[in-house]
């Protein structure tokens, strides 16, 4: 029996997924497929479902997106494929993420093994970081015949998928399954290795034909006024701690205040409610009409019973008592709470990695550095910071490496 924290929303059944697929208009030149950053091609796989070809649907998803089962669960589809869906001209978009989840669950249930390792070309690539971008880069390169070593600083692979996204949205088991597919393709994952400390970039370059830096924004930001405060925990630490313990943590507070209004803040606030914290209040810099979190996450958070107060910034803190002021109105509030969680963004650390970032991003397009052997991808590359964009960037950097090393030829 899974706990409230662990329990995923129910999936479709064969009957209900057909009902949902039957709503699809099977558009010409389908806008959903054009709107998927990773090229997962929803129009194609929904059509396969519609024509009762579930295995073909699974092939389309998997071949286009090595993180298919993960994207199905965590992608903010409302910003991409579902935003473009023609069905909105009638009522509401097709639940593309839900159909994708059904199909990838079926893929796993049938033990389908879709991706194929390419014939070896004798070249070897090192990837630094095993988040979604690093994993997709590995999957694409392996299919092209490269050998791939992934260097991961933690003891488990997956990056934010593993340590950041709560269990009820993305079960650990799904992350394991997706990573295993890539390991089965031939990826070698080296755990507990920090580049610059345990191994140098020079070592990686000496041992491989190219190195891809795929580190994400894994370090939490801190606001100066909260530094050293024993009541304060960062969202990154909190989410990792809860996920590691599968929600079984000690000292559940009676109340908590979350500061921040992105998807991470929503995950923190909802997680707190699922841990049975009675009063969860989220104070957000932005007002609702300029909210950063996806609408889906915001709705789910409000539905979970979190009080969200928009437009406020913390101005003072004294132990467990925080004062907030409204950004525009003459309004102030003081809240005393048991736990303060800061979800005010994350930052990138590319020290010793041979990649220069500013505001968490390399300041030029593409995936190349001045060093012809060093590439980068993922959140530090330009573009959205979502899993589906990580997949896109992983596919693109792999193509760029292939072009650089083999001119795209076999």
């Amino acid at each position: 029996m899974s706990t409230k924290y662990e329990k995923e929303a129910p999936s479709y059944t064969m009957t209900t997924v057909m009902e949902e697929a039957a709503r699809c208009l099977l558009c010409h030149d389908a806008p959903c497929s054009k709107a998927c950053p990773a090229g997962t091609d929803p129009a194609r796989f929904i059509r396969s479902v519609r024509f009762r070809n579930l295995k073909g649907a699974a092939e389309t998803i998997r071949e286009n997106n090595a993180m298919g089962a993960i994207c199905a669960r965590v992608c903010p589809t409302e910003k991409y494929c579902e935003l473009a869906c023609s069905r909105t001209g009638i009522d509401c978009p097709i639940d593309i993420g839900g159909i994708q989840r059904f199909v990838t669950d079926y893929e796993e249930q049938e033990k389908m093994d879709i991706l194929r390792k390419g014939d070896s070309n004798g070249l070897s690539i090192a990837i630094v970081g095993s988040g979604p971008a690093g994993l997709q880069t590995a999957a694409t390169l392996l299919q092209k015949g490269y050998a791939v070593d992934i260097y991961e600083k933690n003891e488990k692979a997956g990056g934010y998928l593993r340590y950041g996204i709560p269990e009820y949205r993305l079960p650990d088991e799904i992350v394991d399954v997706e990573i295993n597919r890539i390991v089965n393709l031939g990826a070698e994952i080296k755990y507990n290795v920090t580049i610059g400390k345990d191994v140098t970039m020079a070592d990686l370059k000496a041992d491989h034909d190219a190195v891809v830096v795929a580190v994400g924004a894994s370090e939490a930001k801190m606001l100066p006024m909260f530094e050293g405060n024993p009541y304060v925990e960062t969202a990154v630490d909190f989410l990792a701690r809860v996920k590691e313990a599968k929600g079984d943590i000690d000292n559940i507070p009676a109340s908590a205040v979350v500061v921040g209004g992105g998807d991470v803040a929503m995950d923190v606030a909802t997680t707190l409610k699922r841990l049975d914290v009675k009063n969860v209040t989220d104070l957000v810099y932005e007002e609702f009409d300029e909210f950063k979190a996806s609408k889906k996450e915001l709705d789910a958070t409000q539905k979970a019973g979190v009080t969200i107060v928009d437009g406020y910034v913390p101005t003072d803190v004294d132990g467990n008592t925080i004062t907030f002021k409204h950004r525009h109105l003459d309004s102030e509030m003081t809240i005393k709470t048991d736990l303060i969680i800061l979800a005010v963004g994350q930052q990138v650390n590319t020290d010793n990695l041979g990649v220069n970032t500013d505001h968490g991003e390399v300041q030029h397009a593409g995936y190349k550095t001045d060093d012809e052997k060093v590439f980068f991808t993922g959140d530090i590359a330009q573009g959205d910071k979502t899993v589906v964009w990580a997949v896109r960037k992983g596919k693109e950097v792999a193509e760029e490496i292939d072009q650089a090393l083999l001119g795209g030829n076999k």
């Binding site: 064969m14 009957t15 024509f51 009762r52 070809n53």
Partner: protein, 425 residues
């Protein structure tokens, strides 16, 4: 993406896959056939070519659909006749299709009004380079009684016209049969006697699909009137499969090569036709609704099915189900199977209760407080209507019991069924 050999040999011609466009509005010119080939179809039966003297003049509009609840195109009614392009244009298109797509199969469908027409058309399409001839003896909406299904129900005419085609061409030739007949076997045998080596079936079923309640006329309305015309699509699949079964089990026709037609839309439909004896498969209605692209999932799904069945060639599956469809008097009537309700799945809608009472044997009792059905085995006859109406797949097959006075062991009874024992989840 899975890749398997879907090729078949049919009437001595090699097809890269069994999927063909049937002779219909979906393949009435070069551009349409070329696009279909590009999207993966194995061949086309080019829209029926008629004699020069027979002028085609179509009505407008000319289609109608049968719907049920929210589902469009349960069935499709069509009034279009044979190709409206000139004989020269059609022959030109056939020639160019064969030039540009030498590995695809181009089948010429022809229809004449007399022996001379048939012979001449056979000669012309052979000269144009067609790989095979299909004789259209079955279109139910021709404006002449010398053409179409009126001919196909007359074995003597069928034989005579087949012989005429054989005089005009050495190409392998199949006769396309009408389902508007009680028994297709005499017409099929007559066509073979005349020189056909295979059968294509079914053509459309004569129909009136809908009546306009205000105007008191069938649909589509053509200046205030309408006509009986051919019905196709998913709704006719059971009728088509029945004819395949009757042909393949008729004495002397056991190995009959068949091009199966009638409501094919998914790989599952395709597999059903193959298991019932079809070697090639013809499709129109679902192409009219969704486009040529549907062939992608039919091909891919069929490949996965072959893999699951451990089959290397489709020929291993042709007609495999025929032997398992027997006369009603030969079925085992010594036992019954009770349904079983899965309480974890039941959502308490009561549809099984309603259907059992109103449509079966009042064998389900309903607990008004808990909103749960239960099965009264003293009344249950094991008809399994409840299984079919359950919206959540909560009702499956349960205990098998022998009827009083019969011998036999319930454990020996084969009730395994993808529908009844493994319902959709």
């Amino acid at each position: 993406m899975i890749s398997k050999d879907l090729s078949v040999e049919f009437l001595g011609v090699h097809f890269e896959n069994p999927f063909l466009l049937s002779s219909s509005p979906v393949d009435n010119c070069y551009e349409m056939c070329a696009k279909a080939f590009d999207e993966g179809w194995g061949g086309v039966v080019f829209k029926t070519i008629g004699p020069k003297h027979f002028k085609i003049n179509e009505v407008s509009p000319r289609f109608d659909e049968l719907t049920k609840e929210g589902t469009p195109f349960v069935g499709f009614k069509n009034m279009e006749q044979i190709a409206e392009h000139s004989l020269e244009e059609n022959l030109h298109d056939l020639r160019h299709l064969k030039d540009d797509y030498p590995n695809k199969v181009v089948i010429a469908s022809i229809m004449g009004t007399n022996e001379e027409d048939w012979e001449t058309l056979a000669q012309l399409v052979t000269e144009a380079g067609a790989d095979m001839i299909e004789m259209n003896l079955s279109c139910p909406q021709m404006t002449s009684h010398e053409m179409g299904s009126d001919v196909g129900t007359n074995p003597e005419l069928v034989k005579k016209y087949c012989a005429a085609v054989k005089r005009g061409s050495d190409l392998p030739m199949m006769a396309k049969m009408t389902p508007n007949i009680t028994d297709m076997v005499p017409a099929a045998k007559a066509s073979m006697a005349g020189g056909a080596v295979g059968i294509a079936t079914i053509n459309t079923v004569k129909s009136v699909a809908n009546i306009d309640l205000d105007r008191k006329v069938g649909l589509p309305i053509v200046n205030g009137k309408s006509s009986i015309s051919g019905f196709s699509g998913k709704a006719v699949k059971p009728i088509a499969l029945r004819f395949l079964q009757q042909l393949r089990t008729a004495a002397g026709l056991e190995q009959l090569p068949i091009s199966g037609i009638g409501g094919i839309e998914t790989w599952q439909d395709a597999a059903e036709f193959i298991l019932m004896g079809a070697t090639t498969l013809q499709v129109t209605t679902s192409v009219m609704q969704y486009g040529y692209r549907i062939v992608e999932d039919m091909k891919n799904g069929l490949m996965h099915y072959m893999e699951d069945q451990h089959v290397e060639h489709l020929s291993e599956l042709i007609g495999v189900a025929n032997k398992n469809i027997v006369p009603a008097e030969d079925l085992d009537r010594d036992y019954k199977v009770y349904p079983k309700i899965d309480w974890d799945k039941c959502i308490g809608c009561g549809r099984c209760y309603i259907s059992c009472f109103d449509g079966a044997h009042q064998a389900i009792t309903w607990d008004i407080k808990t909103r749960r059905p239960s099965i009264d085995t003293s009344k249950c006859v094991g008809c399994h209507l409840c299984n079919l109406v359950c919206p959540v797949g909560a009702i499956t097959t349960g205990e098998v019991v022998m009827k009083p006075g019969t011998k036999g062991n319930p454990e020996d009874v084969q009730i395994e069924s993808s529908r009844l024992t493994h319902p959709v989840q």
